[in-house]
Amino acid sequence: MTAEQVLTRDFELEGLRHIETYLSRGGYRAAVKALKEMTPQAVLEEMKKANLRGRGGAGFPAGLKWSFVPAQTDKPKYLCVNADEGEPGTFKDRFLMSHNPHLLLEGMIIASYCVGIQKAYIYIRGEYEAVAQRLEQAVAEAAAKGFLGSNVAGTGFCLDVRVHRGAGAYICGEETALLESLEGKRGHPRLKPPFPASVGLFHCPTVINNVETICNIPFIILRGAEAFTGLGRPRDGGTRIFGVSGPVERPGCYELPVGTPLREIIFHHAGGMKDGKRLKAVIPGGMSAPVLGEDEIDIPMDCESLAAAGSMLGSGAIIVIDQATPMLKVLAKVAKFYAHESCGQCTPCRIGTSWILKIVRRLASGQGRKGDVEEIRRLASGIKGLTLCPLGDAAALPILALVTKFRSELET
């Protein structure tokens, strides 16, 4: 059975990325409905009812986030779409933007109308240059058809969209680092509060949402919050794009209802392990999600279930690890990544990640000392909860899970 598609409908159509095809498949109807038949307040109410949880990693409800933006302000407001997809294992936003850039633009129009925004940026990671070009083309097409610019769909609503490429820095996926980067600076996260909803881009109220989050909006407006919550879980509705990688038969993106069991995604949708390999462990939500052992994969893929299991749904990126892969290798990859990507601002993260990497390298070269694994655990505990931005936890939590769950393997 295939579930209803919120995000990937018509993806098999070659021309979907062009506005003619998108329009012929009902595209921009949700935007027109919102702008012509709904007040911004009504859009917000629908979004809050849908309880659309952020698809970037944190899972914060989008409607609630929008409601924090002050209604009365003499400053301009901004929308920043987070397309800085850098969480290892994650490739869903590239998939969405490559196939259907207009779905993103349509969601942006609705979000901007709701919050009273006239200027939006899509911050896309620098490596996705080809995707950025596709977005630029979609922006030009939408403007030519009157869906962007100074008179959107003939309603007098104005929206200008700019595609902005990053330049290679994982930290810029963190929302305040993204803002700093967009202002032309190093991606150093800001202290919160103030939150971007009140003090964001250029010190103005700003909404920041992930690509996949925004792409859900047209469905919610067209079909209603109930149709959305009817898919997935009651407080965590809709579908997710689960990106499966590692040694499985069919790695790729699968749009499935929130709450689909992890085992089903791996063994049914992704075709199970390839070449007779056996599953050993799974990282369920991008590299910063704590690893699950093979006995832990009978779990519904929703935010709360994974949190209860001590992990997180994160970006929905599922990395499957096979029995032949030593967990020391996994630990080494995790340690190296965060040591490289720590922005250097907070001491526990800057020093902690590189110190852990040093010990992991010692272990990998066969020069490990007694107590090294415990030392890694101690260092990771000293990062957890003690940094300005979530990168500290993103590094500490998966490392703690690895050294806890696979301690005996790592110590041999």
Binding site: G126, E127, G184, F337
Partner: protein, 157 residues
């Protein structure tokens, strides 16, 4: 010393600047634009950008040194950037890196003597379902094995 910036790039820079409410916000796109033409960002380019954006040169230096895609030294005509992050490593990313070092006769971070290839190791490129992968300059090449790498290197020759 002022670098020779082409009129084409100067026009592009003007166009970029017109799209941002503050000149400094245009810094990343301006640097991308310059690097595309000149291959890397030298101190002379940093100074030119700083003057054009009316910011201190140190503000440009901070950014150039923070982001991995901005190059401070020339690289070969083909910049091979291999992902060895977890999803690629599970599918042979590390072997791919070793094979490329072997084939090109250089270590990661080096450039071949003829100036054709530079080999770099990078973090996740977001193509994990098509692992292992690498970028040649800005083009993705995916599901690589030794045969495909051999073919790719021949084509780039």
């Amino acid at each position: 010393m002022s670098p020779e910036i082409s009129d084409k790039v100067k026009r592009q820079v003007e166009d970029i600047l017109s799209r941002y409410p503050r000149p400094q916000a245009a810094l990343l796109p301006v640097l991308h634009c310059l690097q595309k033409e000149r291959g890397f960002i030298s101190p002379a380019e940093e100074q030119w950008v700083a003057e054009r954006l009316r910011i201190k040169q140190i503000r440009v230096r901070e950014v150039v040194t923070f982001y991995t895609m901005f190059l401070q030294r020339p690289v070969g005509r083909y910049h091979l950037q291999v992902c060895t992050n977890l999803s690629c490593a599970l599918e042979g990313g590390d072997d791919l890196q070793a094979y490329l070092e072997n084939r090109l006769g250089i270590r990661t971070g080096e450039t071949t003597a003829d100036g054709r290839f530079t080999l770099s190791q990078v973090e996740c490129l977001g193509a994990c379902d098509e692992a292992p992968c690498l970028m040649v300059n800005l083009d993705y090449h995916t599901r690589l094995d030794r045969d495909k790498v051999d073919r790719l290197l021949r084509e780039l020759d």
